[in-house]
Amino acid sequence: MRQALRDPHTWLVMLAGGLLGVCGVWLAVLGNPQNSGICVSCFLENSAGALGLHDNPRMQYLRPELIGFVLGSSLAALGFREFSSKGGSAPLPRLLSGVFLIVGCSVFIGCPIKLFLRLAAGDWTALPGLFGLVVGVWLGLKGLAVGVHLGNAKKEPGGSGYWTPLLFVLLLGFLLLRPGFVLFSERGSAAEAAPVMIALGIGLLLGALAQRTRFCITGGLRDLFVMGLRAQLFWGFLIFIVIALAGSLLSGSFTPGFYGQPGAHLDMLWSFLGMLLVGSISVLIGGCPFRQLVKAGEGDADAGLVVIGMLLGAGLVQSWQLAGTAAGVPLYGKVAVLAGLAFFLLNLLLFRERTVA
Amino acid sequence: MQFLRILLVGTLLLSLLACQQTGERPVMKIGYMNCNSEEETMKRFQPLTKYLSDQLNVDFQAIPVDTQDFPERFAAGEFEFTHTNSLVYVIMREEQQIELLATEMRGNYGSHTAGTIVSKKGSGIKTLEDIKGKRMIFGPQLAPSGYLAQYDLMLRSGIDPELDIAYYAIPTGSFKHEKVAYAVYFDQFDVAALPALDLELMTRDGKITAEDFNILGQSPIFPYCTFGARKDVDPELLKKFRQVLVDLSEAETVDYQGESLKVLASAWIDGFEALSDSDYDLLREMAKRANMPPYQEF
């Protein structure tokens, strides 16, 4: 532990975690939906709606933070000469993993970052999600331990890694120029938003910091399991929670309880299973939804496919009404989570490297 | 000979087993107040009775009972459980100390209901004051939302039903409440005392429209039809009985005469609520003001 704290990189990780906590609370104060200052899955659902991938008129907005995460990461990677095009490891399973990541998040109502923002705001209905995430990460690690491996990404001579950042440059253009085919909600949660430039700036800053530090929620948990308190990511993760809690208390948004929480439901089992799905898949593909965006920004085409899958999933969960709401989790949302768990288990079977005695 | 002996012993054993089978469950009776006819009452409540039997491991038998005979037949010990309107419940609570189990939910007000006084649209009768000197038709006398509530409403509005209207009548036979509505609709009477629920159901069924009648007044809401039980029935059974009713959901089914029927839908009920006896105090006050049983004074 002391060794970890002596390393300047640990402090950078802690800075990233702290800023994520501050911005998570601050963006909600500035206008983002309550407890959703930062939520990758919610932002993706909003953005998918803006691009016409679903027709829920209350969930259509091209979230600047999301664009900022990817482009911030790209700029940092290019600036520090870390941008490198790589990919080619199990592309289709990664694409589908992206879809199921969003299924799990939408059933729980939020990504792992939002899970902790919800807990920091006193939303105890997120507790089963926390347990689910921890169990999911543990299961994913067990999978890796028994030889499950999606394969190594190879450096690609072509510039395949540029395509995801370029896609997000295009989205930035859409956000700023607002062409007619991009939809922006005038009511509902997507109409609640922090000022564009501030949100974009925060996204760029957090994207850049996350690229430098490899900050990841499930990564923090994974490293805690593997390395204990020596894990640098865990310290960043801890600071994120502490700062988010302090922010909630200071901003007056801390309202502890199970009932009347914003964007939450009481289907505890499905909150647990939804986050279990997210945790397990995240470990298998090497990072939570936020980390996938950052990796895609630094030229990882495999992560880029996960991002495309997440965008597709975000459209599907709204179009097929799989997402959880305050009224609970719809039947087909539950079925989708079970399909996701089956997908995870099938991948364990298919990608396990067996040693023949 | 040997064969005959085996047959005899076998038959004896079988009949003993059969006796034991029927004797396994206690038999109890539920008296159901007739709304329109015995046939309708039995059709409505037999699936529910079968469901209660299955859930509580008691052989319940449904007995249709006319409203005016109810307190007397209950006092005579003809049935242990009762399903009556709320006024008959209040009467039997006063006279026989019956236990309150659960209140039926139906229509806009759930476990509550109300009585309305209506006139035909275009009749010129627009307020309660206008009904003085007019011909009025009520529902049956022991109907809380077809008679008592309106009688009380009139008294509280300064209209004495015995003195201030030309005359009033009560229909006979079945479907009394609908007869009351049609009596005004077809100009046989000027004013009618109708349960709010019947107005609601007739409108939903398309028999009348909201524009057909002027609603001159409506009573406060009070508890609707009620399940009760004799005070000496096992308290544990009463508790379970109440719980089964309160837990009944729309989706619950029962196998009855070879069919799988939705219990609540068969009985035309939306559900049950466990009210407390004090919820019936409003009705008691009405009965006292209207000099009606169980507080009638001569």
């Binding site: 062409p179 007619g180 005038e186 009932y259 997402a323 | 609601e200 909201a210 609603i215 609520e273």
Partner: protein, 178 residues
């Protein structure tokens, strides 16, 4: 990057494509068609929503008039009549809840209001012309403490269901992303 003639040729073609796209986007004719498309899409959505709002207002106008005239029983009957043609319609549920609340039939009112909000979030949305946010807010503020207190005295399925509906409304008022 541009190492031979083929590279140069491809680069030039790329530049031509980019220039053509810019010309298309900035040219006058295309500007008109682009703005038409933009207006069409936004307009279509606005028209559809406004049409829905005005249809609901027109459909339920007799109910609202009766409600304003405090003829609440007749207003309920009118709703029953309309529900024959439009059963389980969100705005009908909302009006039924409002009327029952005016009649002090609180548990049933809460049931219908929660059902309406489940079907359409517009009723708790500040920006919607159909918004009833302040009424629902007031209902939650007044009834929640009462029902919580009642639940400590006795626990019935009905009371729990009403409390659950109130918590749902409270959650929707609190916001969140859904």
């Amino acid at each position: 990057m541009l190492k031979d003639r083929i590279d140069i040729l491809l680069g030039v073609l790329l530049l031509i494509c980019a220039a053509a796209a810019v010309a298309l986007l900035t040219g006058q004719g295309s500007q008109a068609s682009q703005s038409n498309m933009a207006v069409d899409k936004a307009l279509e959505r606005d028209i559809a929503y406004q049409a829905k709002v005005s249809f609901l207002e027109r459909l339920y106008a007799p109910v609202s008039e009766l409600q304003q005239a405090e003829k609440l029983e007749t207003a309920l009957l009118k709703l029953d009549e309309l529900s024959r043609h439009y059963p389980d319609e969100a705005h009908g549920e909302l009006l039924r809840g409002e009327i029952l609340l005016q009649m002090q039939a609180v548990p049933k009112a809460i049931e219908h209001l929660a059902r309406a909000v489940r079907m359409s979030g517009d009723y708790v949305d500040q920006n919607s012309p159909l918004s009833r946010r302040s009424m629902i807010n007031q209902l939650v503020d007044v009834q929640l403490p009462k029902l919580k207190a009642a639940a400590t005295q006795q626990t019935t399925g009905r009371l729990q269901a009403t409390l659950k509906d109130l918590y749902y409304l409270q959650g929707r008022l609190a916001g969140g992303c859904e």
